[in-house]
Homo-oligomer: 144 residues x 6
């Protein structure tokens, strides 16, 4: 059995559908919207923790770290937009550009906002992109 | 329904088990071994592509990009080791330190190696860590 | 007319008082397409120098540094797209998303290409964006 | 005359066709003092915005982002000093070392200062360097 | 006299034992616990300066810069742990993993703490590691 | 005994003169030429290893990693020059600017050179700076 097939088989057995998402299309070629999502979850958690705390230094560190996490969200989304998606995907999802533009704007706004509902909007936007990503790969994300 | 619960519920419906892994324990507190795994998959794909190509510049870029990806694997593993795991986990998994040490060493070796079998060893080591991670969170990764 | 001369000629004709472009609209708010252009000029120069050299290590360093410069082009373009441009600009320039998408794809391709003509395409794409940028600010770039 | 207007006026008078400045001398070889200037304009704008705001988190983000922008100013100036300028330039402009030293010190001080007049001093120092840079290239920056 | 020997000889004459510590074992191969220590000294100094100041912006910058310095401490320690130490060292110092784990945790905690005594604990932990490092190299660090 | 005194005392006992060099003058305020030196030692070691190897990929990685190490040398030297040294030091060492300029140029040249003798020149230049640095602090670096 070729090596790559073995990876996916072992991975599927253990992790379920997750690993199946990390394919390779071109150059280094491994894309996964989970990278943006994980950082966005961090953003929203920080917004929650900011609300729950009244320690001045802790809140300052929340603002500081959130700034970095939001930058990572933007970066991962930009890479996905520019590097993964092709002309054929735009034919099928004509609003793709706009989805990415708005999602990255939401990531930018999350630097200013301490409201977890704002972080949730960001996560929802990433979910929309993840749906298209997986459909474009012809793989259905199944419930556990 | 509180915001956080809603996230997980929506996410679980759409993505299956994946999102459930991104919890928050302390400070910014979102950890997920998928971050290391995605970069390691990139490392192994690059090793495969290196083997399949005879273009000198392309192979050079493989070596160059693999160096960066392997650094990211090391970074994500180190963060998990230092920031997520606690004394109580060491009681339960006494080989935890050694697993991380060897996994990060494998990531370092992947910079030198153009053999996908080496990349597979790295992925296997990350899988072992991911298994412990999920067990430590009391969440079972289910097959799809 | 040699390629480099052409770049400068075109640039001089179109650009004029570049510095006037560095305004501030929102948050830190200083945007200037010159940031992407300078890095793209570096990319094209490296492609030329690669062609002119037969020193193995020098050419390797060209590939390596070009990789970094191209990443900076992508970054500066992404920032401009997400952070500077607003909904009203999209009404006026409906192809804005596509221009940025293609320009960043060209930057990605410049990592693979050692052909200065490819770098020139990237510079041309950035010029198109710069034209819209300056028009959106209601400032005419005058010839010297 | 308000500070910002003064910047632009001075800049327009002195700079003219900035873009013509992006030449290539050695290795990747594209140098342009505009890179330092753009970041310094960002520094001064942030100092202004800090003064105009009484939102605690916004002001904190000003301090945070200004720190990064000032670092970029320092970096771009250092690169120019070490990589572009040659022994022959020092013969002609014996105070070159001192100009760079003081300009980078001003960039360091801008991290501590919330006063736009301090940022203006930094911009003036960069202008002095830009004047020498352009003269050294035998190209006159013309007014528009 | 071969080049390397000359370096050490000159260095020893001038700096004492310090330079002798910077050897090369594998790949780029130069390791020195001083890298982690210098950043940790910076962390503790910032904690002291935070205590001595009542300027709000200055204290904010302390928190911000300490965050970065602590990250560097973690990075340098992780590199030492993964890249320098070998299986044979673990045989001799079975608590090595634990020392590194606790030292990097202390570095993480120093982000939250403004207490110089906490920074001192971090420095002490790095000293313990440095002792083992030098002993493993068969070189005694002598008092001046 | 105040905390800081205790640090130096413990450190002096164990490490000899090394720690005494890490003082604090301004802001975060810990400076040590060892940071530049350690990276420069890495540069020279890589040049040696390049000469000793005939493995193509290994040599490529040497060039790649040396590029990064040389950048770190430049960075640490620039920081020392701009942030540590004051006007009074220039009075006493009028060639200070020139020493730094030439040392950073040597670091830049080490990217191109695979000759350990070139790396040795870089180390010598850093030694000259370190001598001045320690003399400026009124501390003699003693032999062991």
């Amino acid at each position: 059995m070729p090596i790559l097939t073995r990876v996916i088989t072992v991975a599927e057995r253990v992790v379920g559908v997750t690993t199946a998402s990390a394919h390779c299309d071109v150059p280094c070629g491994v894309y996964d919207p989970a990278q943006a999502r994980i950082e966005a979850e961090s953003v929203m958690k920080i917004q929650e923790k900011y609300q729950d705390s009244d320690d001045e230094v802790f809140r300052q560190r929340c603002v500081l770290i959130k700034e970095q996490r939001a930058d990572l969200v933007k970066h991962h989304l930009w890479v996905l937009w520019t590097d993964y998606f092709k002309e054929e995907h735009l034919q099928k999802w004509p609003n793709l550009h706009d989805l990415f533009w708005k999602a990255t704007k939401l990531a930018g706004e999350s630097k200013k906002s301490q409201d977890p509902a704002q972080g949730q909007q960001l996560l929802d936007a990433i979910e929309q992109i993840a749906d298209i990503f997986w459909e474009s790969k012809g793989e259905k994300r199944k419930a556990a």
